[in-house]
């Protein structure tokens, strides 16, 4: 009976943890060869959480948000304000704070936005994110404006990291984030494979029928929205500490575009998509940064992916892996 719930490659926990383990193992070696690439891996590991949250909303519930940067901003500025105004350095507290602030904001906005069509949702989120960005930008005497908030090195378990060399410091950041990501991946995996998760997929596929089997589609969407906001907020707090600078850029529409693109690239229909997407995106980004028409590339890629390979890289990988498995069984 439980056989029916068996997962294909990418949707199972194992493939996700294996990928994470591989990255965790090769990271120190990569860093030793090139600290720059080590930092890119640091970006990669940081953004998985936000992309997972985004995909809960998009891949599993069918709600595309062009304003996910809003919650990244909330998380980042929560960490920033906690440091600037309360002198709090502890990364654990930053994360707890951003969970709280993201949840509250998501509840307020979610109550408004989940009752309408998915098109409204997409554009409204873009617009509201811009509204928040304009607030961060204009109230510069609170937020630091475009100069931003400079952060000191975070403390972990109450221990200051000020006196360490940069390499050790970055290693600590990387493994702390990997640890956090592992927990959050496991949590998200349980969520999408729970009755709630299947309900979300039903709402995604056919909201009228979902309503007619008695599902309160608005309440379910609201829950998904809040969870995805919390995930994005956590990444925001992490980014604030990784860059040690919080500027309005993190809340700008191009950051939302980054989230959309990276998730699409990795694959929105398979659980491992956001993991793959985060790393591949950041690798491409560091190459493409030199080629300044990066938005043109992203835009063209988004259109190409939608038309040609909507399942993203994860889908391609799955087809590859499944074909190996099958050829092994049948004998070629």
């Amino acid at each position: 009976m439980v056989e029916r719930l068996k997962k294909a490659f990418g949707d199972d926990l194992r493939s996700n943890f294996i990928l994470l383990a591989i990255i965790a193992v090769i990271y120190p070696a990569i860093y030793a060869i090139s600290p720059g690439w080590g930092i890119v891996l640091g970006h990669g590991i940081t953004w998985i959480i936000a992309l997972l949250g985004f995909n809960l909303l998009f891949g599993y519930t069918g709600l595309l948000s062009f304003g996910h940067a809003l919650f990244l901003g909330i998380g980042a500025y929560t960490a920033g304000f906690m440091y600037k105004y309360l002198g709090i350095n502890s990364i654990e507290l930053h994360i707890l704070g951003s969970i709280l602030s993201s949840a509250v904001v998501a509840l307020a906005i979610g109550l408004v936005v989940v009752r309408y069509t998915r098109i409204f949702f997409a554009i409204f989120m873009l617009a509201i994110a811009q509204v928040f960005w304009s607030l961060y930008y204009k109230f510069y005497w609170i937020t630091g404006g475009t100069d931003g908030i400079k952060m000191a090195r975070f403390s972990i378990l109450g221990i200051s990291l000020e006196h360490l060399d940069f390499t050790t410091y970055h290693h600590i950041y990387f493994y702390f984030t990997t640890f956090l990501t592992t927990i959050l991946i496991y949590l998200m995996w349980r969520i999408v494979n729970s009755p709630f998760g299947l309900t979300l997929k039903a709402i995604r596929d056919n909201e009228v029928r979902a309503k007619f089997i008695g599902i309160d589609i608005y309440k379910m969407r609201l829950y998904a929205f809040i969870i995805s906001a919390i995930y994005a907020g956590i990444t925001g707090a992490l980014v604030a500490n990784h860059h040690r600078l919080v500027t309005p850029d993190i809340a700008y529409w191009t950051t939302s575009g980054k989230v959309v693109f990276a998730t699409l690239l990795g694959g929105t229909r398979i659980f491992i998509g956001p993991l793959i997407g985060s790393f591949i995106f950041h690798v491409i980004e560091s190459f493409a940064m030199r080629f300044i028409y990066w938005q043109l590339i992203m835009g063209a890629f988004i259109i190409a992916i939608v038309i040609l390979m909507p399942g993203g890289i994860a889908q391609i990988l799955r087809t590859f892996v499944e074909s190996i498995r099958h050829s092994g069984r049948i004998g070629g």
Partner: protein, 299 residues
């Protein structure tokens, strides 16, 4: 105390803002009405119109016809409209691909185009804001109390009025206009009655592009154009369409007017909260009158 001059200027501001926003909103509503596609790229077409005039149109006219005013009033906006119509033509196959597919396809493709356009602007015209207001200074300004109202901006308001009239005539008094309106009500029925649906779609997209390009071309001399403007306009156009009603011609006007009023008020009192306050009002209107004040479709 508020003096008469200030009142006149505020009223002028409201009408000017209404004119500009209307030219964007009406194109958005046209495409949604007929194709059921919310075209996120539409504001980028308006911006393209602005860039064309600033970076190309004014220069061409001056070098060919000198600096006299009249050709500058008419030719650059038309050049802008032409360029945007051509751009719409190039993008049209994507529109055909999108219609009938799911929401995400439409959203992602038009969003991708938005990103592409932003970098195309940067590629062709660079990162600095562009203006062309110098060439139009000869039109002079009206002195109202302590304020100056550029005569050119009055011209923009009048042009918008004429365009609304022409558009109304087109939509309500010509055969193709009736086909467009019929398609926006029920496209299958219109097709069943023998209309060439692809032609109607093409005309709609080109018309929307024409309005966007013309609008951008008219607008630019009064201000400047810069990167990121497309998204700012999208944010404003969206709230116009929410307040006025999605797919409604009247709503395009009502929404533009109300947003202009709100902008003028908030810029007087709480300038930093301008966008936030407009959106709060929009949310309130949405909650109590979901079809908007001009009567539109469900969101």
């Amino acid at each position: 105390m508020i003096e008469l001059g200030e009142v006149v200027v505020r009223i002028y501001n409201i009408f000017f803002g209404t004119s500009v926003l209307f030219l964007i909103a009406v194109g958005l509503n046209l495409i949604y009405g007929v194709m059921r596609i919310v075209n996120l790229t539409h504001p980028a077409f308006f911006t393209l119109g602005c860039y064309t005039v600033a970076g190309l149109g004014v220069g061409i006219v001056i070098s060919l016809l000198g600096t006299s005013l009249t050709p500058l009033l008419i030719i650059p906006p038309l050049i802008a409209a032409l360029i945007v119509v051509i751009a719409s033509l190039i993008v049209f196959p994507l529109f055909i691909y999108m219609s009938g597919k799911g929401d995400e396809v439409q959203l992602l493709v038009t969003y991708g185009l938005l990103l592409i356009f932003e970098d195309v602007f940067r590629l062709i015209w660079g990162v600095e804001p562009l203006r062309a207001s110098q060439a139009y200074e000869m039109a002079g300004s009206l002195i109202v109390g302590e304020y100056l109202i550029p005569v050119y901006n009055i011209y923009v308001i009048l042009s918008a009025l004429i365009l609304v009239l022409l558009l109304w005539l087109l939509l309500f008094k010509t055969k193709i206009g009736i086909l467009i309106r019929a398609s926006s009500m029920d496209i299958e029925m219109t097709a069943a009655l023998g209309a060439d649906v692809k032609k109607v779609l093409l005309v709609t997209v080109l018309l929307a592009g024409f309005l966007a390009g013309l609008g951008g071309g008219l607008y630019l001399p009064s201000a400047s154009v810069m990167l990121g403007m497309s998204v700012e306009l999208l944010v404003l156009a969206f709230v116009v369409v929410v307040i006025g009603g999605l797919g409604s011609f009247l709503g395009s006007f009502v929404g533009s007017f109300i947003v202009s009023v709100l902008r003028t008020i908030t810029l007087m009192l709480f300038p930093e909260l301008e966008l936030a306050l407009i959106y709060i009002v929009a949310i309130l209107i949405l909650t109590f009158k979901p079809e908007g004040l001009g009567g539109g479709r469900k969101w």
